[in-house]
């Protein structure tokens, strides 16, 4: 319809078999509709969504020159799109279509009051007709998709996603905050329930990432800015200086050997402080990229410049070590983003009564993973901080999980890894190992079998969470005595232990909220990123083109992380291979000459779709970012923001028609 043309509306009342016609008087509804303003044709028909029903509309459009269509039938969730297509196929803008829900909202819920239900349906149809008269044509925009992908986070999920995409021939940027990729998995010794060596299965994948021609790997780097939207994100990455030129360093590690500090004396982050490193280091022997890092906090050459720099002398590559190296901020263009930013383990300092940090006998499970790891600080031997081998070890499940004081949710992996740790400790030390659990959750493939196996090996399972930890001696340096209510026995247990392992839960990264804002996605209350739909869109977010993989979405084990990474890669691939995407027609827009630049709308937009154009300071809405919630429209104090499909005028007329009843169209009282 051209502007100014009067609306010519066709109204179609669907019987839906007896679903509607059994309650509402469909004939009288069609007659009623025929008397409404601007209505040219009105009909009732058995099944409007059937082929003949659709053809009826097309025919009327041709014969009566209809330019608006109203179908009174079921919920718009079912057939709105169907009838929009009908309109489009007959040459009418598909958004000149209005659906009226007289089935779910009238026939079905008021079948005991047929008269009142019909009156209500009249009101709904009248409102639909009023709204239809105010509809405006809308054109759907298409945007091209840039074929490169950004993967944030180089744990197993990020690695898997990057490799899948790169193997499919797509350009991938993998950005990792730590000096190496590998994530938490690289810290583990074995993986449950198969007891595969973590390094054996992870290292080949890490190397593949490092060598892949389609992957640009930036470690020791983080994303600081994301502009644009699906199809064309512009991402700024901060590359922190490692004081070594990655392209020159060959990873011979001679610099580490030659460091002016003969002994490793800095607490190793990778070993959680249980091991030591030098100021120049690689986090662990299989690090990728195999490039050293100079720690600016402890390397005196970086810090003060006052060092004889034996590392530079020993380095065979001229200029590889460069203490003048500065931060860099490269910008990249990508079409889609996969977030695989992982998790952090629960900090048991928050539950001080377990004595972590207070008594040396108390460890976190991640620390024990390092003790068990052959390339860890003890070479895989389980020895205590006092150098002794433990004879009695307790593992407390659910530390920071299933607890209103910390995290409400179950961390999903602790039962299994606790049993794995129990098995490994028993295998290597012969110690008595006690698992203090609330419920054993072993629902994965091969999990229950592993539970059986560990029980058979003589690991003790006490159903009761440890409620108290006290040192055996007041100095706190020796054994600890734990108290638990053995709930199956119905008896209190007090057990002295050489080593107490806290099976800490998984938490969202500390900076999840900042990352969420950066990428315009949402976090749950716990800080995990929210998927678009928990079942049907588990790797999508509400921001188009941004996908999730791994524990940043929720705690999960390695197989699930890998599977989700594959799904995220497939979603990204699907977009790239389609080449372009259609944007929803439901978005808000600012009328520039009417906007006063009051900025009210800017902070309200959950997607940061609203910015101020620099010249006149007026608000501008990025159509690709806007999701059409209408918050800004409702809040714009000068009424200068509109929303396609949900314009103020349409809603006002709908409300008015809904309640003004028969009086409004001059029919007199009924």
């Amino acid at each position: 319809m051209k502007e100014g043309e009067t609306p010519r509306i066709g109204v179609y009342v669907c019987h839906c078999g007896l679903n509607i016609a059994g309650v509402l008087s469909v004939k009288s509804l069609a007659e009623y509709a025929g008397r409404l303003p601007n209505v040219v044709v009105s009909r009732d028909y058995k099944y409007m969504c059937s082929d003949p029903g659709q053809e009826l509309i097309r025919q009327d459009i041709r014969e009566h020159g209809l330019n608006r269509v109203v179908v009174a039938a079921c919920s718009p969730f079912l057939h709105e799109e169907t009838f929009r297509r009908v309109c489009a196929s007959a040459g009418v803008n598909p958004y000149f279509y209005q659906m009226v829900n007289i089935r779910e909202h009238a026939a079905w819920v008021h079948s005991h009051e047929k008269e009142k239900a019909t009156r209500k349906a009249e009101d709904l149809i009248r409102a639909g007709v009023a709204r239809a008269a105010k509809l405006e044509p809308v054109v759907r925009q298409r945007v091209p998709i840039h074929p490169a992908v950004l993967v944030v986070g180089g744990g197993i999920a990020g690695i898997q996603a990057a490799l899948t995409l790169a193997d499919a021939g797509k350009k991938v940027y993998l950005v990792e905050r730590e000096p190496t990729i590998g994530g938490h998995m690289a810290q583990f010794d074995k993986t449950f329930p198969t007891l595969d060596c973590a390094a054996c299965i992870l290292t080949p994948k890490m190397t593949a990432v490092g060598n892949h021609p389609n992957i640009t790997l930036w470690t020791y780097s983080d994303v600081v800015k994301v502009d644009g939207s699906v199809g064309h994100f512009t991402v700024t990455v901060r590359r922190r200086p490692r004081y070594v030129h990655e392209d020159l360093c060959i990873g011979c590690l001679l610099c580490i050997e030659s460091c002016i500090y003969p002994d490793a004396r800095v607490a190793s982050e990778f070993d959680l402080g249980l091991g030591k490193r030098k100021p120049v280091y690689i986090p662990f022997p299989q690090a990728v990229p195999m490039k050293v890092v100079f720690d600016p906090e402890t390397c005196i050459a970086v810090k003060t410049g006052k060092c004889t720099r034996p590392c530079v002398d020993v380095c065979g590559v001229e200029g590889a070590i460069d203490f003048e190296q500065k931060e860099e901020f490269p910008q990249i263009e990508v079409g889609t983003i996969i977030l695989a930013t992982g998790f952090k383990t629960f900090d048991p300092h928050r539950l001080p009564f377990y004595g972590y940090g207070r008594y040396p006998a108390v460890y976190t499970s991640l620390e024990v993973e390092r003790l068990l790891n052959a390339s860890g600080p003890t070479g895989g031997e389980v020895v205590l901080r006092n150098g002794k081998k433990p004879e009695a070890v307790g593992i407390v499940h659910c530390i920071g999980s299933r607890d209103e004081n910390t995290n409400r949710y179950c961390s999903r992996v602790c039962c299994m890894y606790a049993m794995k740790i129990a098995h490994l400790i028993r295998e290597r030390t012969g110690a008595e190992v006690y698992n203090f659990y609330i419920d054993i959750r072993a629902p994965g493939k091969g999990f229950e079998e592993f539970y059986d196996r560990v029980q058979e090996e003589g690991v003790h399972f006490i159903r009761g969470k440890v409620g108290d930890v006290t040192p055996e001696t007041p100095d706190g340096k020796g054994r600890v005595v734990v108290s638990a209510d053995d709930t199956l026995l119905g008896r209190a247990r007090k057990i002295p232990l050489d080593m107490l392992v806290l099976a800490v839960g998984l938490e969202a990264q500390a900076d999840a909220n900042e990352v969420r804002r950066l990428f315009n996605i949402t976090c749950s209350e716990e800080g995990f990123f929210v998927e678009r739909h928990p079942k049907l869109a588990p790797v999508n977010t509400f921001t188009d083109g941004v996908f999730l993989a791994g524990c940043c979405q929720s705690p999960k084990d390695i197989p699930d992380s890998v599977a989700q990474a594959g799904a995220a890669a497939a979603e990204a691939l699907a977009l790239i291979d389609r080449g372009e995407m259609e944007l929803s027609p439901n978005f808000a827009y600012v009328s520039a000459e009417e906007c006063s630049g009051c900025k009210t709308c800017v902070p309200l937009c959950p997607y940061s779709a609203i910015t101020l154009e620099p010249e006149h300071g007026k608000a501008v809405i990025n159509q690709a970012l806007c999701k059409g919630c209408g918050v800004c429209v409702a809040a714009c104090p000068s009424g200068s923001i509109g929303q396609h499909l949900f314009e103020d005028a349409q809603i006002f007329d709908e409300i008015e028609a809904l309640i003004q009843g028969v009086a409004a169209n001059g029919e007199g009282a009924r």
């Binding site: 919920s75 718009p76 969730f77 829900n101 089935r103 779910e104 909202h105 009238a106 026939a107 079905w108 819920v109 008021h110 079948s111 005991h112 009051e113 009142k116 239900a117 009156r119 209500k120 009101d123 709904l124 409102a127 949402t522 749950s524 209350e525 509400f542 439901n586 309200l604 959950p606 999701k627 059409g628 919630c629 209408g630 918050v631 429209v633 409702a634 809040a635 929303q643 949900f646 103020d648 809603i651 006002f652 709908e654 409300i655 008015e656 809904l658 309640i659 003004q660 009843g661």
Partner: protein, 152 residues
């Protein structure tokens, strides 16, 4: 109930968010649950789209009550639209009271897509309450300012 209000069928304009309360209304239909035919739904994408003008307009045009339905806090499809609605609602209720409109005529409920029964319950309750309050008849009262006495 007094004779004046007996048999009065209140009209409720319902402003429902597309993702939670509208779906709840649909699912109540699918399960054929019955509730009073007092409500008329306007579908909006988010309760955050509810402009206070819509509420005032509904009353001014003849509604006896307005029901806003949105997702539960924390569940908003658009992150925080429901909170924005809640903030406006809080102030709007005070304005309505000052204008002499019983605040029970405006109701905000968090009803998720799975809470069809809650929706039906709210509609039943509100219908009863409005029936007890009697018709608002605002268009008439506004149109004839001299005829309608303003006693406190």
């Amino acid at each position: 109930m007094t004779p004046a209000t007996n048999g009065h069928d209140p009209k409720i304009v319902s402003l429902f968010c597309n993702w939670c309360t509208y779906i709840a209304a649909d699912s109540e239909g699918v399960s054929r649950k019955q509730y009073p035919a007092s409500t008329r739904v306007v579908r909006l994408m988010c309760s955050g789209r509810v402009d206070p003008q819509f509420v005032l307009d509904a009353f001014a045009k003849g509604a006896d009550g307005v029901l806003i339905g949105g997702c539960h806090p924390g569940d908003c499809h658009y992150s925080e639209g429901n909170y924005k609605n809640l903030r406006r609602y809080s102030l709007l209720k005070r304005v309505l009271t000052e204008f002499g409109i019983d605040p029970r005529r405006l109701r905000l409920e968090w009803i998720s897509a799975s809470e069809g029964e809650k929706l039906a319950k709210v509609i039943r309750e509100m219908t009863e309450e409005l029936r007890a309050l009697g018709p608002l008849n605002l268009p008439e009262k506004i149109a004839r300012p001299e005829a309608v006495a303003m006693e406190a």
